[in-house]
């Protein structure tokens, strides 16, 4: 316990370096902006902006990206409330009550509520994180290749088990990500592998950023171009009156919602830890639970502040939760953390439990930065509510070309090869076409990041066991993890059988 506090103290020393402090403030502001833009969320921001972080050392880079992550979680609520369009999928539940409140002329109440709830969610979860992470990393230190592979199977299995209706499309997405990551060279024999159509550009493999920016940058923007064309480009911005006196009155009123906030935070944190779940289902579940617990459930959906507070606390808590498996086990809990993990590989850090011992400064700097980012984000958010409302008035046709340009350069920067820019365009366009057919794309991004780690883990395990798959079931930690993974994998089948049985009985 004391040891953890000592390490956290060291982390704060890292955070209070002027450069890192500036990165946190800048990251929070940028994240708030990205989150507030309809269609863009934390994952888009982190994917598009990761190439910009090559300038600063790894600790600064991850602090900056984590601040963007945090800021975007706050910012998502702004367009949910003001426009009725979720700023990011994580803020969908916030529209349910945030929009009605804005229509009743209480947009400022909803915005303040969202900011405070985000702060509570962030704070509770980061404290939980601080005390959960070191013991988990400690357990994970004994993990060998079989455990690592079992964990990755678990990450993929949760996508299959919890990933909605279309089972085959989820499996497709995972497999394509893994295959794309296998392109380049066979790591063990050193032979060129899967050099598609013998184009030499494939020899250096496919950088995960090419896929991530393709899907979350180009693809997402094309999607937004479509949404705008369908909506006729009309703005539905609500009016908001923001004064200092009203803000303080709003803050006082929020005290009575503390129970909902705490509930949402704890729920969000634990849902966030699960690889496939993350912030979107976390916030929806929290909304549902708040409604069930409420004395007046009928007022939900008509402008109940609890309906804003519950999902906002949960989505911030979930974003912290999803960092837990990323840092301690090297398994990302969300697409955003998958990109952060990929970034760590670029910066030359090996993800996994050894980070805590080998790169203690990095880990604790990041954890301490979450405390700081949370504080800065709430201050910037509440203080600049009028500014963010103005920003929402920026026409999409000005922002879109700028974001497209950032994507093109972002695809070029990591390898400085035009081949990758072309590939990114292909991924963007195909990804857009697939998304229209309900192919889930997040698993593919997770898979292309995990692929280069999963393959050696599998091959080394099989070498240890001389080709027998039983190694994944007989070891103390690998066994239970693998069995859980298999249960998740068959969850859709159980569900189907259950529904059929129930229908027969009824």
């Amino acid at each position: 316990m004391l040891e953890i506090l000592g390490l956290l103290g060291n982390g704060f020393l890292v955070v209070f370096e002027p450069l890192n402090l500036a990165l946190i403030v800048g990251g929070c502001a940028l994240g708030l902006f990205i989150g507030a833009m309809p269609g863009l969320g934390s994952v888009n921001g982190v994917a598009i902006l990761l190439p910009l972080t090559f300038l600063v050392p790894p600790t600064g880079a991850i602090i900056f990206l984590a601040a963007i992550y945090y800021g975007a979680m706050y910012g998502g609520a702004i367009s949910s409330i003001m426009l009725g369009i979720p700023g990011a999928s994580t803020a969908v539940a916030t529209t349910f009550d945030g929009r009605p409140l804005a229509k009743q002329g209480m947009a400022d109440k909803a915005l303040t509520g969202a900011a405070v709830a985000s702060f509570v969610g962030g704070s509770i979860s980061v404290v939980l994180f601080t005390f959960f992470a070191p013991p988990l990393a400690h357990v994970a230190l004994v993990f060998g290749s079989p455990e690592e592979f079992a964990l990755m199977m678990l990450a993929f299995a949760t996508f299959v088990g919890l990933g909605g209706d279309d089972l085959f499309k989820t499996i497709f997405s995972i497999a394509i990500g893994l295959v794309l990551s296998a392109i380049g060279f066979d790591i063990i024999s050193g032979e060129p592998r899967l050099v598609l159509w013998d184009i030499t550009g494939f020899l250096h493999g496919i950088n995960f950023l090419v896929l991530a920016i393709g899907i979350y940058g180009i693809g997402e923007m094309l999607w937004t171009v479509e949404e705008n064309a369908l909506g006729g480009g009309k703005s539905m911005l609500s009016d908001a009156t923001v004064t200092v006196a009203r803000t303080f009155a709003n803050l006082r009123e929020l005290v009575s919602s503390w129970k909902t906030m705490v509930m949402g935070s704890v729920l969000g944190y634990f849902v966030g830890i699960l690889p496939a779940a993350g912030a979107t289902p976390g916030s929806l579940m929290s909304y549902g639970l708040a409604k069930q617990m409420s004395k007046d459930p009928d007022s939900f959906g008509k402008g109940n502040i609890e309906g804003v507070v519950a999902p906002e606390a949960a989505n911030n808590a979930a974003s912290t939760g999803s960092m837990l498996p990323m840092l301690t086990l090297g398994i990302p809990g969300s697409p955003t953390t998958a990109i952060l993990l990929g970034g760590m590989v670029i910066w030359g850090l090996e993800p996994g439990p050894r980070l805590f011992t080998d790169h203690s400064e990095f880990v604790w700097g990041l954890i301490a930065s979450l405390y700081a980012a949370n504080l800065f984000a709430v201050i910037i958010n509440i203080a600049f509510i009028p500014v963010f409302i103005q920003i929402l008035k920026t026409p999409f046709t000005i922002l879109a070309p700028i974001i497209f340009i950032l994507c093109l350069i972002g695809g070029y920067a990591p390898t400085q090869d035009m081949h990758d820019v072309w590939l990114m365009l292909v991924f963007g366009i195909v990804g857009y076409l697939m998304r229209k057919l309900d192919y889930p794309l997040a698993p593919a991004v997770l898979a292309i990041v995990l692929g280069p780690l999963a393959e050696p883990a599998l091959r080394q395990s099989l070498i240890i066991s001389d080709g027998s798959f039983s190694i994944f079931f007989t070891r103390t930690y690998a066994g239970p993890i693998m069995i859980t993974a298999i249960l998740f994998l068959f969850l859709p089948v159980f569900k189907m059988v259950y529904v059929k049985m129930r229908n027969k009985l009824a």
Binding site: D165, E226, L230, I402, E455, R459
Partner: protein, 167 residues
């Protein structure tokens, strides 16, 4: 084209691609090599096989008309949306194509003029300001600060005095 047709075409294309990936993986050994473990082609080969199976699953659902996508009679991309999305996509492709010829600082202003003036219908004043300002910011940020040299094509000689100034 309806969503249902698009679903079929996408699944068929991806199934063909997975077969290609399987063939390509087979260039490396996919079996067990004594003292070395699985061959280099095994991992991508079996993953491509899973890919093929999932495509078969998608097609199976398509044939038995199961699920919202496989039964949807909606238009895949509405015609007025198609115009907009296609023009953006084509503009991006042309821009990237131009990178190698007239360089990024030739291509980006053209892209910005197209997007802001012709798609966004903004004033010439705003368009011109951004078309000049954004490439300048990009030059300072990426080339001067991050030392990432962006493609310049035939405009390369024009930048030699600038390189001398900054590096």
């Amino acid at each position: 084209m309806t969503v249902r047709t698009a679903e079929f075409l996408m699944a068929i294309t991806m199934a063909a691609f997975s077969i290609y990936l399987m063939v390509k993986s087979y260039e490396l050994p996919i079996g067990w090599i004594k003292d070395e473990g699985p061959g280099g082609g095994a991992w991508p080969f079996w993953l491509s096989a899973i890919l093929l199976i999932s495509c078969a699953g998608i097609l199976f659902n398509w044939f038995r008309k199961h699920g919202p996508i496989a039964t949807s009679k909606k238009v895949y991309i509405e015609s007025h949306v198609l115009m907009e999305v296609t023009s953006v996509a084509v503009a991006l492709i042309i821009t990237v194509g131009l990178f190698s010829f007239i360089g990024i600082y030739g291509a980006l202003p053209l892209f910005l003029i197209f997007y802001l003036r012709f798609l966004g219908k903004h004033s010439w004043k705003l368009t011109a300001t951004l078309a000049v300002l954004i490439p300048v910011v990009i030059f300072y940020f990426f080339e001067v600060t991050l030392k990432i040299i962006l493609p310049k094509g035939m405009t390369e000689p024009l930048f030699i005095p600038l390189y001398k100034l900054f590096f």
